[in-house]
Each structure stands twice: as structure tokens, then as C-alpha cells.
Symmetry: C5
Subunit: 247 residues, 5 copies
């Protein structure tokens, strides 16, 4: 038996997109995978013609993700595309020092207790980025992205402070869609062709279009974002995804 290939922090994340031929036992294989501790999987019917069905799966063990992929492949799900990434913290989130400075600057007279609450909130936020629980929504949208490295627009030549300032504005747009959009950003540098994967969950397709469109005007995207293919799918139980695919 193969041993686990463990991710030292966070989760391994696998997005798969298939043509569906004859998914004998595929729904059961996905259910088995998702029943293990610390493992999750959602399936979706891919809109448009580039693929029939898709999967997003999380595990602390890359070997478990690979065995699932190969098992499904052997059951008549032909790979069309995929993305391999890891959950990760953002390096640009505010620090405790940032927050204390902000509170002091506001003349807050209860800095310490507010800071304690902030720390608890941030700890929950970080836990959720590294060990997320996939939400129950009707729609999933996924796209990979990188930052530009060209003369005149080179993200990787900016200082940390410049990048952090740019990312804060980006975060503000994201927070406007709280409740309508749940977003998970995972890191793929060195593991897949793009540097990050962005997965959005929503019930209303207009919300997906609106948030990505609005973010495009933010300098982080306008000047430094390069986007890969966009996949949109209807989240449905595996058996419905596969039967709908005509198999």
C-alpha cells in the first residue's frame, strides 16, 4: 500500500474536469473519498461544452487525491483539464501591529479588548483559509491566475509594502460581496501552470459576473492579473451530475 504524502500545512486541493463515458461506480468512489476524516469533495455539471462534469476535492494527503483521480479515470471519466494546489494563508493580511496602530489612530480607548477580539476573528479566518469547509451553494466558478512579470507591470519587482497596499484595496471589493459570494484562493506556484486558483461559490450567476468584473478595475487585476480559463458549473450530487451527462 502506498503511504500518505502529507501536506505539512493546509490541504491539498484537486480540481478535475471530465468527459463522461460510463461512470460505473464513480459516485460511490467519490462518496467513499469524502467520508474519510479531513476529506471533502463536491461535484458539478460544467456549463458549456468544454467538459461534462467536474470535481473539487480536498485532502491532507496528495496520495489520497491521486488515488481518487486515477480510480475515477478508470471508471470512464476522461480527464479534460485539472488544477493542483494547496490551501494557504495570504501573506498580505493585516498584522496585530497594523490593527493596533489603526485602533490607536482612531483614538479608541479600549484597544486591548478590541485587539483580543480581532485576534480571535483573524485566527478563525486563518483556520478557515487553511482548513476550509466547502459551502452548500448552487454554483461554482473556478479560474487559475498568475501575476504579470513584464516590463512596465512586474508584480514580482514591487516591494512587499507596495504589494500589500494593492492587495488591501482588492480585499475591500471582496468584502462587498460577503454573503453573496464565498471565495477560496489556493496556491499552485511550482505545482501547476498558474500561480493561484480562485474558486467562487454562489447561488446567483449575476453575483459571480459582478464581483469578477468589479475586481478587474482594481489595480491588482487591471495591471497585474493574468487569468486562465474560466469554468462555471452547477453544484449537484455526483449521481445527478453523471446521469445528466448522458452516461
Amino acid at each position: 500500500m502506498a503511504e500518505a504524502v502529507e501536506v505539512s500545512e493546509g490541504r491539498g486541493v484537486m480540481h478535475l474536469f471530465w468527459r463522461v463515458r460510463s461512470p460505473e461506480g464513480a459516485a460511490e468512489a467519490i462518496a467513499r473519498f469524502a467520508s474519510a476524516d479531513d476529506q471533502q469533495a463536491v461535484t458539478f455539471s460544467v456549463l458549456g461544452g468544454r467538459a461534462d462534469a467536474g470535481l473539487m476535492a480536498l485532502s491532507p494527503d496528495l496520495d489520497a487525491l491521486d488515488r481518487l483521480a486515477k480510480d475515477l479515470h478508470g471508471r470512464g471519466l476522461d480527464p479534460v483539464s485539472s488544477f493542483i494546489s494547496l490551501t494557504e494563508l495570504s501573506e498580505y493580511t493585516a498584522t496585530e501591529d497594523d490593527e493596533r496602530a489603526r485602533l490607536v489612530a482612531e483614538g479608541d480607548d479600549d484597544v486591548d479588548s478590541k485587539l483580543a477580539a480581532w485576534n480571535a476573528r483573524i485566527a478563525g479566518y486563518r483556520q478557515n483559509r487553511l482548513y476550509p469547509t466547502l459551502p452548500d451553494k448552487r454554483l461554482i466558478a473556478f479560474y487559475p491566475m498568475s501575476k504579470t512579470r513584464e516590463p512596465g507591470a512586474n508584480w514580482y519587482s514591487l516591494s512587499f509594502e507596495e504589494r500589500k497596499a494593492l492587495m488591501l484595496g482588492h480585499g475591500r471589493v471582496g468584502r462587498k460581496y460577503a454573503g453573496r459570494i464565498i471565495q477560496l484562493i489556493t496556491g499552485a506556484t511550482g505545482l501547476d501552470d498558474w500561480e493561484w486558483g480562485v474558486t467562487l461559490f454562489a447561488d446567483d450567476p449575476v453575483a459571480i459576473k459582478d464581483i469578477v468584473y468589479e475586481m478587474r478595475f482594481d489595480p491588482v487585476s487591471a495591471e497585474y492579473g493574468v487569468f486562465g480559463p474560466f469554468w462555471t458549473g452547477l453544484l449537484l450530487p455526483p449521481d445527478e451530475v453523471f446521469s445528466r451527462a448522458g452516461a
Copy 2:
């Protein structure tokens, strides 16, 4: 049964392009789809060799669009390409304030009643963009497009006023072709690989070539337009499209 995945405003739009193998019952499936309230579909024989046949379908429900796509796929229509978008209003159309200022500047002595007529006309125009009725023409042309985001030509770094001024000139070219060309622009940011889809309907192929060529000199296209593949098709009833495809 799957529940509807509703578009909160406007319509979901699905363009599909296929190789045709053996379209058993495909024409009937399309007719059934198009018979539902608020749903429309037109089919076309694709010119050239990239695909045999194509479909443009509208629905308030993405789930209904997906079920149609998967049903046709299972009936011997193999997907070659596709585009998923939503109808949307233009953010750059003149406002009531713009129009009042224009009338006042012209020294018009009947601003109020003219403004009322203008409002009615605009309301119809907006209704038509969000809830269009596909016209009865001989030709369809479709292409996806995005706006550039490169050093020296970054649409998303322009101010709203700059973009609005540029779009007004663009609209003037469009209006020259009123009657010869019917144009529908739908939004796809976050949903598909390009930011917009442009669908043109016409009877004369020269009109399609002329409008797209003339618009290319407009700064909006000349400097900021990036265009994807261009598809041209002959609009025909589904059974003729499929029988012509040799199936």
C-alpha cells in the same frame, strides 16, 4: 428533479458549436426547450470547417440551459466550442441628466415632454437588452471579446468618464447600421474565458464585414479590443441544420 438556478436579472445565454454525428431527436429537444415561457433558441449551419452546427439559447434558468446542452450532447452532437454569458445593461448609456443637459444646451423649449419620450424609449431599449427577442434573419455572427490590460493600453485603468466618452463614439458607428444589423452584447466576466460575447444578426454578409471593419477604427476597438474566434452561420431550422450536416 433539479431546481432552477435563476438569473436574478436578465437571461442566461448559451452559445454551442458542435460536430454532428447522429442527432436522434435533437431538433425535437430544441423545440421543446424553446416552447417554454421565457426561453428561446435559434440554430445555424456553421460556415467553414470548425464545426457543423450551432445553437444560441436563452433562459432565465441556467439549469434549463445545462439540461438542454447535456441532452443534445447525448444525442450525437459533440461539443466543439461554447460560450456562457448573461444579458446585461450597458453601464455607459446616457443618463436622464445627460439627456436633460443636452436638451437644455440645444435651447429646447419643451424639455419635460421630450425627456418623458426619451425615458420611454430608453426603458424599451433596456428591456430589450435584458430580455431580448432573437430576430428572424438569414445570418448569425458571434465572437467573444475582452478589453486590453497591458502597459500603454489598459482599459481598466481608465476613469469611468474616459470609458464612457470612448463608448459613445462606438455606439455612433453601431447606429449607422440600424436595420441592416441587429446586435446583442452579453456579459461573461467570471463565467467564460472572455469578458463579453457579441452576436450579430443580418441578411447580407457584406453588412457584417462592414460594421466590424468600421468599428475596428474606433479607439475602443483599435486600442482596447481583443477579439476571440469569429463564428459565422446560416440561420436555419434545427432539422435542416442537422440533415445538412450529413447526419
Copy 3:
């Protein structure tokens, strides 16, 4: 029966490139098409491995072109690539005023009769661009092209006068090859992925290489030309093209 989809001026042009499986009756179908009034077709064996055989067909009716394409497709000719365009006049050719000014500047004492001759010659030239007769040569070369729209080299941001001046130089190179090369430029903006198609006919492959190489130094190509795939073929009767393809 489908009705004609007529081109209001000029001819519809279809380039097709195929893998050949079992072209049952394909040569006859092409002959039937070419026997109709105002319709022409030439076939060629494609050099290299990207396709086996190709067709260039002209008709005033896009529907007739589409029926031919689908008919051949159903006869074991699998599409590899294609190009859809329309014959068109150049917008940059000299006007009667240009020619009169030129004659006057040369001190010509017989401007009127020379202008009449010029007008007749130009009328023939225009007729030939819109309604060409495909020549009888041994070789065909085809490539699609567009003009650049990038910061620093944007054809569509130049004035008409600048573009006309640049095109005149381009024409001079073309005329040096009169007799050795017959060239047909057709327009595809809005209809296919590139803005123009260039079709060259010659007997000597060196002439094709020389004219395209020499033109590349002309600023129109050097700075503003973007070129798609180049296809070269041996013009042969349909039955020889198909039997050579091993079918």
C-alpha cells in the same frame, strides 16, 4: 429547400483544408458546384502534413458554399481548417482625382484621353477584384493576415492618408511580380478569425517565397502585418487530389 444567402457585392469565398478518408463522389460534387453560373472551385494537394487536400470555392451565395462544404464533409473529407471571406475592393487604390493630379503634375498635354484609358483600366481591375476568375497555375499559397493593434504599432489608429501612402508602396512590390504571381486579397473581418485572406497563384515556388519575403520589408508588413498559418498546395484536378491522398 434553403434559399440563397446572397452577397450584395462581390463573391463569397471558402477555403477548406481536409484529411481525406474515402471521398466517395467528392470529385463529382465539386464539378457539379463549379458548373453553376458564377461559381468556381479549384482543388489542391496540400504540401507537408497538416492536411491532405484543399479547396478554394467562390459563389455569390453563401448557402451554396455551405451546402458544398457539408456535402463533402459527409463524403469522407474531414475538415482540418477553413477560411470564410468575401471579395472586396481595396479602399486605398488611386482615385480619378489622384490620377488627374499625377498627369497634370507630369505636364501631360493629353490628360483627358489618358484619364479615360485609366478609368477603363481601373474599372477592369475592380471588376476582377470583385468577380475574379481563378487562374490556371501549378501552385497555390494561402495565408490569412491582420493588421497590428498594439501600442507603438497600431494600424487602426493611423489616418486614412497615412494608411493609403503605406499601401501604395506595398502595391509597387506586388507589381514587380506581375506575370509570375497572381494575387487575390479577400476580406474576412467579422466573418473569420483574421481580417484578410491572401491567395497567391504561381508556377514557380521560388516566386512565392520571393514576393512574400520582399514584401516583409515593406513597412505595411514589417510594422503592421500579423500573419496566420501558411498553406501551400499543388493545384490538381479533384480526382487526382483525392486519389493521391491514398483514399
Copy 4:
């Protein structure tokens, strides 16, 4: 029998990525290859859907590598991608003169014996780059890369000294990951589409992501690096790789 095609210095390196159909005897063929003197091979299960399995093989003889590739191809391993390169020394490593100058500048009073030790260490390092022993790890990551040659960022227009200075900074990042990451850079200019291949070995996927991400901020990568597809795999014995692939 074909004679050897020998690499005059270093080793020939072949990366292969396959779809696996029915690998009859493939594991045995790989074992036979790897049992020969100076030959090595490792196999891996490819993460994601772009390929099922992969191989990295080294030999002093390109003919032996080619016979292995063709033998495996004939055994039901269908090629998806590949990379051909040679091991090579870096031209930018410090010279004895560099090291002596450094020691003298530090005021070292035992330059000669330290230089002798340095020479021994460098000799081992060079031997290892030209004649590496593939390590025993759980993960392999491979990506090809080139250096930019564009206006404003042209690596090949820099002087040797400028390039050497840039590469030294790059090396410093690499050394931070000593123990967690083993890296092998091989040269492919003139042999394959990219100029170099980078192969990383690790046990923790986070280490792969971290080193490639951190290096991206180094000017060598930020300004001059162009990266091809990234492949990640789980290193496993051939029989396990092939049985997992469902064959």
C-alpha cells in the same frame, strides 16, 4: 544493432509523460534499463489529469534512451509530453579566483588550506551536476524554462558579469531549502523547445510551492524567467504507477 550515441560530457536526460493503456512488461523494461551501468530511471504517478504516469531517465547514450522510449510506447504507454536535455555545469558558479579574493577580503589567514577544501567541495558539486544520483523522495516536480529575449528584458543582451551577479542571488534562495529540496537543472537549448529543465525532489508539497514562489521574486525569475508547464508527480515504483493508472 544500433551503436551508442554518446554524450561527450554528462548524461542524456529524458522526461516522458504518458497516458497508460495496457503497460504489458513496461515495469520490467524500465527495470532492465535502470540495471545498466550509468543508467537510472524513476517513475511517478502524475497529479491532475494531463497525464497518468511519468518517467525520468538518465543515460550516457541517447540511443539507449530512445530505445527505452520506443519500447515503452509499443507497450501501451501513449506519449503526452516529453523533454530531452543534458546535464551540464553552471557557467556562473564562483571560480577559484573568486573564492581566493573572497577569503583574502575577509582577512583569512589560512587561504591555501581553505581553498583546497573549497576546491574539493566544488569538484564534488560539479561531479554531482554532471553525473547525478537521483534521490529517494516522495515527490517530483518538473518544469521547463527559458530566459526572456524581449525589448526591456533581454537576458542574452546582458554581460556575463551582470548575469553572474544575478545568478548568485538566485543561488542563495536555493541554498535556504537545502535538505527540503533537491534540485537538478539540465540544459536543452537546441534539443527541446525550452532552454532548461528544472527537476525538484521533495517529501513535502509545501516545500515545492515555497521555493518556486520565493524564487519568483528574485530578479532572475521576476524579470528574465519564462516558465513552461509544471508537472507534479508522486514517486512510486513502476508497477505501482502503472497499476494505479487503472491499466
Copy 5:
């Protein structure tokens, strides 16, 4: 019978790359082709997975090249890629005037007889470029290339003198590898997607890597070269190439 399509000067050159299924009689067909006057062919086993086997064939007659290609295609060799070009002289080689000036500048007192010897040598060189004899080596490397036409690096906007000066430096690097590398440059502008094809013959793979790497620092390549896919193969007799491919 088809008549010859003759190249008025030089030879037609066809590079073909195949997947090999069942090459019944392919080796014999190649031998027959190569037995004709003025025709040559070499075959090779392609390194890596992009193709199984390749051919480089020369003929004064494009029709003969096409008949060979189609014949082999019908014998179970499926085309993967190809390149069509013509042998040609370099336009940048030194003229007799250049050489006389050089000799005079050197104060040579025997200019006339040295010029005669130079003329004889150059005549042989030119004959060899137009009508080459393919050498007997172990390795072949092929890549297509073009010159850049972008703002800031436009080869075709340079004067002839600037281009000639740049090419002379390029030639000096080439001469350093005399004996280790035999190079043939053929022209493809207007005939194939790239402007030139470069074919290298060598016994040592390190020599191929070294010459292409060293040339990349030459401004002609560093600033103006755009390179297509690189193919490397082991030169072997046709029957060995095909049997090795597992067919």
C-alpha cells in the same frame, strides 16, 4: 501523370514527422525516392514523445516530394508535423568587392590570385547551399525560426547594411563549430509558418546544445530571433527507424 513542379533554383526541402502505425513498404518507398537523380532522403528516430519518426527529403520537384509524402501517409505514417522550404543563398555573404577591399586593407600584395581562390571557394560554398549533399552523422536537430517584427526589435525595419553587419557576427560563431556541426538553412517565407528552417547534423549532442546556446547571445538571435519547436532525432536507416517505432 502529374508533371513536375520544378524549383527554378535550388531544391525543395520537406521535413516530415510521424506517428508510426504499420509502415508497410515505407522503407522501400523512401529508398525508391532517394534513388532518383537529384533526390535525397534521410530518416531519424525522434527523441522524446512528440513523434516517432522523421524524414528530411530534397528534390528539384515539389510534385515528387508531395507524392512521397502522400504515399507514406497511406502506408501507416500519420503526420504529426512538417516543414516545407527551399534551399537558398544567404543574401548577406561577403561580395567580391568586400573581399577585395579586405585584402587591399590588409596590404596584401597578391590580391588577384587570392581573389581567384576566394571566388572558387565561394562558388563551392554557394553550390553547396543550393544543392547540398546531406552528411552522414548520428544526430539531426531541426527548428524553424523567424525574425522579430515588434516595436523596439524589428529586423525588417533595419537597413541592409545593419542586417549584413549583424549576420557577419552570427557567421563567426557558426565557423567555430566547423567539423563538429554541419548546418543547412533553408527559406520558407510564404511557404510555411516560419521564415527559415535550420537543420543541424552532428555526432555529439553536446555540440548541438553548445552551438545553439552560444548563438543565442549573438544579437541576431538575442534580439531578433524567434524560434519554433525543436526536433532532435537519431539518424538511422528507414527500416530501423520504423521497426524501433514498435510497428
